[in-house]
């Protein structure tokens, strides 16, 4: 199995982003997904900047993939999507059907997690258009992924969301702006103040979600580090690790060692725990509510 670094879902200052990817060049990941996928108002980096980062990573031996927006609303969004799709240098991950259409018949592309591939019929259709890898929706269980893989077209790679806060929903409305009593068009880019999302708790104190602008994520961090054997058996070829602001390189290292077999699953989970911004969860993988953490229950 390969390791990938998913697209950066948060809004970080330009310098922080550049530093993050300078370090990532040395991390033991095979693939790096780049680009803004959440909000078209975020402009710390332009497409040219992402391409420059991509070139540096490619020179360091990484496979580079550019990701498109998960929600396209305006003409400007469409133009950006087309610029990404036609970048000419790197493979592209399509996150909506407009992007899939723009990429179809133009060589291999990645069917992103927001394309809603829940079955082999849809996957076969995307394969005809040129998809050579699909990223399973976060809701899909190990059993579900395995069933899709069993009927997947030959040569199709399967990528799963193995680490990070789960992107659960997207809206046209910005919840970080709403929290700050600001309108979306005058949001003051306040999501830049929350490098791992803005925490949202229930009234009885449960850490439940985080707000990331127009995107809503789980507060808990999904981790499948104890499930690498089952993931391989289910047919996963790529494990996606979703960027966090601190110690991401250490997270990658734990997964790498666990994959190479130099770290036992239980030890890997123990090493990962202090690196995580919140408690782990893995319910979706087991066909349960995503918020549950079944690894803990097994260990206990």
């Amino acid at each position: 199995m390969k390791l990938s670094l998913g697209p950066l879902l948060y809004y970080w200052p330009r310098e922080a982003v550049l530093a993050f990817y300078r370090e990532a060049a040395a991390w033991p990941v095979d693939t790096v997904y780049l680009g803004e996928t959440v909000c078209s108002r975020r402009r710390e980096l332009k497409l040219a900047d992402w391409l420059a980062i991509g070139e540096a990573l490619a020179a360091a031996g990484k496979e580079v993939v550019l990701s498109t927006y998960e929600l396209i609303e305006s003409d400007a969004d469409l133009r950006t999507m087309h610029a990404v799709a036609g970048n000419g240098a790197f493979r592209v991950e399509a996150n909506d059907m407009a992007a899939a259409r723009a990429l179809s018949g133009k060589g291999p592309f990645v069917a992103g997690p927001f394309l809603n591939v829940y079955n082999a019929g849809t996957l076969a259709l995307l394969a005809e258009l040129g998809a050579t890898r699909w990223v399973a929706p976060v809701e899909l269980s190990r059993e579900g992924i395995s069933a899709v893989v069993a009927e997947a077209p030959a040569g199709m790679e399967t990528e799963i969301f193995a680490y990070g806060r789960l992107p659960l929903a997207v809206s046209a409305r910005c919840f970080t702006a709403r929290y700050n009593n600001l309108t979306k068009d005058h949001c003051e880019f306040r999501c830049i103040e929350h490098p791992d999302g803005l925490a949202l708790d229930t009234q009885d104190g449960q850490h439940f979600l985080v707000l990331n602008g127009v995107q809503t994520q789980s507060a808990s961090v999904q981790s499948l580090v104890s499930e690498l054997g089952p993931a391989r058996a289910a047919g996963a070829n790529v494990l996606r690790l979703s960027p966090q602001s601190r110690r991401m390189g250490d997270v990658v290292a734990v997964f790498r060692e666990a994959l190479d077999g130099t770290l036992a699953p239980r030890d890997a989970a123990a090493r990962l725990a202090p690196l995580m911004p919140a408690d782990p969860c893995d319910g979706y993988w087991h066909g349960q509510p995503g918020i549950l953490n079944l690894a803990k229950e097994v260990a206990a």
């Binding site: 609303e73 407009a98 829940y118 079955n119 069933a147 708790d201 009885d204 809503t216």
Partner: protein, 342 residues
Amino acid sequence: MNALPQPAPRAMKLVCPAGTPPALKLAVDNGADDVYLGFKDETNARNFAGLNFDDKSIREGIGYAHRKGAQVLVALNTYPQPGTWRKWQAAVDRAADLGVDAVIVADAGLLAYAAKAHPQLRLHLSVQGSATSHEAITFYHEHFGIRRAVLPRVLSVEQAEKVIARTPVEIEVFGFGSLSIMVEGRCALSSYATGESPNTHGGCSPAKAIRWQQSPRGLESRLGGVLIDRFGEEDHPGYPTLCRGRFVVNGDTYYPFEEPTSLNTLELLPRLQAMGVAAIKIEGRQRSPVYVETVTRVWREALDDCARDRERFRVKPAWQAALAGISEGHQCTLGAYHRPWK
């Protein structure tokens, strides 16, 4: 609005929900052009106990609707889950055999099957398909020949207008009902807490995961054990969906996503008609026959008024009063069509 004289656009169709046969009859009797319904299983996004239609009631419903000049659409608007593909395929076959006027589908694979196996069957792209641009809609048109697409509720009027101007596909927009703040087909909040979501099981916030509990701090609603809201004696409790919950961010307790409100676009009707909207959808297959009767009656009258003379169209207070009386949360908003938050 455009000052140039424009060709009179066609009257917009009124698309009404039916969760039960009495609701279907009331929708038809009160002037619905299309009535949409679902089978009794997870092939549709209102898969609730006791709701929806078996073959016999669909046949009778189609007969009743056709006699009165209305059409029946079947929603197959969830995503076929791995290993159960045949069930959805069979549902498409069943709808075609029953002679429904169209099926409303979200999944690209299922659309491909329907287009191939039943070339005569009229296909509508469900809102759950998350097609938010004319290019996404064109994708479904090129590949499966969809005739109508339902626009996600996140688009503004200006955005919807641009989509309509650039696609040959009929566009249906939501006019009234429960308002989803998230992009349809792109929300897994429900399954995060309960294991079931619209995409996977055909329902948001499944009833079996809901608990109402009286506590010293008020009436509490929980979903999958997660506290969604607390209500005092004077509060009006709503159905506990996550995006309508009251939560705490940095010590502030408020509705971080939205107040529990309903969508109501009556006042936009002239604009929607002028820009070429083909159909207006009413949400609420899970609601009672009284709801369907009231909404259909009001919207029929409003659409007729608007079609007669768009310039002079005025929203009647009686309509708003009738609709306010059956709205969840008792407020009616224009949703994303109008964006005070933008």
